[in-house]
Amino acid sequence: MENKKVSLGDRYAEIAVILITVIALIAGWFYKSSVENSSVPFNVESISAQAPKGWLQSGPSGDELLRTTDRSSSGFNTTYILRDMPLAAGATASQVANLLTLSHGQDLLAFRLLDQRDVTVYGKAAYELSYVYVESNPNLTHKNIPSVVRGMDYIFMNGNSAVVGSFWADEKNYDLDLGRFHLFLQSITY
């Protein structure tokens, strides 16, 4: 047994350790993506989508077909909402947007509309609303500081109704969770 400084063998071993760690992390990343992107089919009134697997889901209520929430999100739990809003004949997407803006203004605390525009989402024409509000839990014993929530609505015109996909996320998680929401949006068929 001899005392020695770093040898060539040590260098190779060091490279091998780095390599195996990088390989493990890449494999971990792919596995993470497969877990996060796994979904369960959802189908109501000829509207279908792939909802995230493992999220808390509530069934249809009023014009709300689906509300699914990620209980593991920090702060405000990331939420997707899918709605089917009946419309008067000849209603336009911008009119639906005005209706949604008024509704959000009444229901959501400190609601502010940030932007609205026509967009194309995976080949489908849509109208996009982006906004912000403060999460207001009505439970007075709720001890957490209110969260700033960023939201986004995509309005798809579908004959005499509008299919609206909404994304609500804590300001801190918004950018990180947006990619997953796009997968959900892509899966919506009507």
């Binding site: 005392n3 071993a13 060091e14 091998a16 195996i20 992390l25 996060e36």
Partner: protein
């Protein structure tokens, strides 16, 4: 450096490893009993400061034993502090942000058993074990002061304990403090586990430096430590998970502590046996 120093067993190292485990368990018991008896009331800031103080205790206990041993078998204090500093830097600047913010493991790792095990090994295990290895490899390892295989275990344990300290401080700060009783158990569990898995890496590091092992030797050590790390976290989350009943919810952190102590004793015993066997074969081959 004489050859005789490079091959002797250094019983104090192993005594310290076992004393660390026993002292931590005793310390947890004392804090738990005092918390139950005195029921101290904290303000937000004193709760935070107490939590941070408790997080520092495992590494402090090890340092006390280390300096006691040091009078008999001196190790350069600068290198020990260097491993502590580099380990803390790697943990705080790379480990925690990578696991929590890039991989966001808390969002998906507990989805099912497979994700707990695979995520625990591939992401948490490999990240933590690589960074602890790096803290030793890029500080004391190339120096002449790393002059016997047992040094691998000493310095890797230091890296593991400082990693545990960073994890515990992060936990305390992100929760605005912790309850004394359950807090100290959690901290001891993290410290025992991190030190144990580092011991495995340390054994492989020690042999890698002195025995011209194959190129796969060190990757094997990191992989073994990462696998144990992942399996331990899965087992602990399974055994000490919260039980919900009509009378309320309860978690049993003592099971986690018992498991961590068992793993620490078993790992230290196994590494000690391997080092002894190795020394015997070297001595008999002379």
């Amino acid at each position: 450096m004489t050859e005789s120093k490079a091959v002797h067993e250094r019983k104090h190292v192993w005594r310290n490893e076992f004393l660390l485990i026993i002292s931590l368990i005793v310390f947890v018991g004392v804090v738990y009993v005092l918390d139950g008896a005195l029921k101290p009331v904290f303000t937000a800031s004193t709760l935070l400061l107490t939590g941070i103080f408790l997080a520092l205790v495992p590494a402090a206990i090890w340092l006390v034993f280390f300096y006691m041993q040091d009078r008999l078998e001196p190790e350069p204090k600068g290198y020990v502090l260097g491993v502590f500093a580099l380990g803390a830097l790697f943990a705080a600047a790379v480990g925690v942000p990578l696991i929590e913010n890039v991989f966001r493991v808390s969002h998906w790792i507990y989805t099912n058993t497979l994700s707990t095990i695979l995520g625990g090994i591939l992401v948490v295990g490999f990240t933590q074990e690589f960074l602890k290895y790096a803290a030793v490899r890029y500080s004391v390892y190339p120096s002449g002061e790393f002059d016997e295989p047992t040094d691998g275990v000493i310095y890797a344990t230091a890296a593991g304990l400082v990693y545990a300290t960073v994890l515990n401080i992060q936990y305390v700060v992100s929760n605005g403090g912790v309850g004394l009783g359950t807090g100290i158990i959690r901290m001891a569990v993290v410290a025992l586990a991190q030190a144990s898995f580092s011991g495995i890496t340390g054994y492989f590091l020690g042999r890698a430096k002195f025995e011209s092992e194959q190129v796969w030797w060190m990757p094997l050590g990191i992989t073994l430590a990462a696998v144990f790390n992942g399996l331990f976290n899965w087992l602990r989350s399974n055994l000490s998970q919260t039980n919900v009943s009509l009378s309320g919810a309860s978690a049993n952190p003592w099971i986690g502590l018992a498991l961590a102590a068992l793993v620490a004793f078993a790992t230290t015993g196994a590494v000690l046996w391997l080092v002894r066997r190795n020394l015997n074969s070297v001595q008999s081959g002379k």
